[in-house]
């Protein structure tokens, strides 16, 4: 008799406790399911052994370790990735989703956690100072038409540089190699995939910092997407990401996958 009453009270307490917002939070987020569209190297892909890996996978796992919660990865094709979030198939998307206004109307974004940088590149023998704008007078720069790099160069250097716009990045590279262009301003990962930059035998060198700003041209970067109501979860992720960026964990993971700086 006594025992059953005790159980009853405990049960009531447990139920009421679970209704309290603070308690519910801890309970709901013991396990977080993260959606990812695989493969997208080097952000998320499978090793030959079939193990899920990549920059975002490692970063996501580090966030979960920091928050001391259990994370599972759910694979989801890109075109259904936001509907899947709404349908509660998972709790967050961590799959290189660029923050845009259109998407922000549907989902809640964390602070940006990476963006791919752009950079100025020239031939190894050339001595060009990109910060001295007047010295650039008359030089030709190649960009891929209708990219954000095109807009950036057109607006900021259109008065001194002669801008040549190409249909594809390959064409820019070709004319860099043949010497028709003095400079190019490219998305750095694309440039690095096409030519050797700053290595022993390479013919090209980077002559600027990794450029990721201003936001007007380069966008807000990539963020984790949550359901709009899950403000607490987003807050937790933001805090954890900020900690990882500060304590060096982010840099360590970044170095593993990139030769350039994607930190934002």
């Amino acid at each position: 008799m006594q025992a059953s009453r005790l159980f009853f009270t405990a049960g009531l307490l447990a139920i009421s406790a679970s209704l309290l917002p603070g308690q519910a939070f801890a309970r709901d987020y013991d396990e977080v399911r993260l959606a990812v569209d695989v493969p997208y190297e080097p952000f998320e892909y499978r090793t030959p052994e079939g193990e899920l890996t990549g920059f975002e996978i490692d970063l996501g796992n580090a966030v979960c370790a920091e928050l001391d919660i259990q994370c599972t990865w759910v694979e989801q094709a890109w075109d259904g990735i936001i509907p899947g979030l709404m349908a509660r198939k998972y709790d967050a998307i961590m799959s290189s989703m660029a923050i845009t206004e259109e998407r922000a109307q549907q989902v809640l974004f964390s602070e940006p956690y990476y963006t791919t940088p752009s950079a100025w590149i020239t031939s190894k023998g050339r001595d060009i100072d990109i910060s001295d704008k007047e010295s650039l007078e008359g030089l030709t720069v190649g960009v891929q038409r209708a990219t954000l790099q095109d807009n950036y160069v057109t607006d900021l250097y259109g008065d001194v540089l002669e801008i040549r716009r190409y249909a594809s990045a390959d064409d820019v590279i070709t004319d860099m190699e043949t010497g028709r262009l003095d400079l190019t301003f490219m998305d750095y990962p694309i440039a690095e995939a096409a030519i050797d930059i700053d290595t022993e035998e390479s013919e090209f060198k980077r002559i600027s910092d990794f450029i990721k700003e201003p936001e007007k041209y380069f966008g807000k970067g990539v963020g984790v997407a949550f359901r709009k109501r899950d403000k607490e979860l987003a807050g937790m992720f933001n805090e954890a990401l900020a900690t990882l960026k500060e304590n060096g964990t982010y840099d360590e993971i970044m170095k593993e996958y990139f030769s350039y700086d994607v930190k934002l």
């Binding site: 190649g142 038409r145 209708a146 807009n151 004319d175 010497g179 028709r180």
Partner: protein, 242 residues
């Protein structure tokens, strides 16, 4: 004039696309397109006339290479020819150190070369056909006058052949204008290049391309009018007499 500019300012006041800056792009594009097409046609015409005469030669070693050339250049897309001349030849070993590089370095000259070679091929065939169609009577009459072959070519065959070729050549000029739209693939800022730039900036394909289509229409109209005038002048003798 003042009224016109006031009207124009008012017309442009409500849009963010057709500003002085973008109209400047279109203006420069118009100049480039006209330059490119006009130069290639003039140079092409100068080369095509002797080639079309030689194309009708009885000697195989003169006739065959020219036929081969027109066959190749009429048988392949202009875009491919432009790619080969702009991107292809730069991979010839050591070309950067020769005088040719001065010409090939800028995108304008490779495009001009490709367009010229292309229009020469078509124009040669048009003129060759017109020369071949010269009526036997005219030639016999010239012979009866004791004209030498070159004199006959100069005084009788070519003038009448040019008249006959005029409508077909007018078409070739218009085709050339439209074909020049591919110049922007080798980074030339022609009319189409300007339209693509405006499209990319404002994500407004309709505005950007309709405007440039209107400009091409104006150019085509000018060409049509010119050829209509020439035909009226030069083919007057073929009109039905009343």
């Amino acid at each position: 004039m003042e009224q016109l500019s006031a009207w124009f300012t008012e017309l442009l006041a409500d849009n963010s696309i057709f500003t002085a800056r973008t109209l400047g792009y279109y203006g420069e594009g118009l100049v480039t397109t006209v330059q490119l097409v006009f130069l290639s046609l003039v140079i092409g015409l100068v080369i095509a006339v002797p080639l079309s005469i030689a194309r009708g030669s009885k000697r195989k070693w003169i006739k065959m290479p020219i036929f081969f050339y027109t066959y190749v250049f009429r048988g392949t897309p202009l875009l491919i020819q432009l790619y080969i001349i702009y991107y292809g030849v730069v991979f010839i070993e050591g070309i950067q150190d020769t005088w040719l590089w001065v010409i090939l370095e800028e995108p304008f000259y490779p495009a001009l070369i490709a367009f010229t070679l292309n229009t020469v091929a078509y124009t040669t065939e048009i003129f060759h056909g017109a020369i071949k169609a010269t009526s036997k009577g005219e030639i016999e009459a010239a012979r009866a006058y004791g004209m030498s072959k070159s004199l006959m070519m100069r005084r009788i065959i070519l003038p009448s052949a040019f008249r006959r070729a005029l409508p077909a050549y007018g078409n070739e000029v218009i085709f050339m204008l439209h074909a020049s739209a591919i110049a922007s693939v080798v980074t030339i800022m022609d009319l189409t290049g300007a339209a693509r730039l405006v499209y990319a900036r404002f994500y407004a394909p309709f505005d950007a391309f309709l405007f440039v289509a209107a400009l091409y229409l104006c150019l085509t109209f000018a060409i049509l009018y010119l050829f209509r005038y020439l035909e009226r002048r030069m083919l007057a003798h073929l009109k039905p007499q009343s």
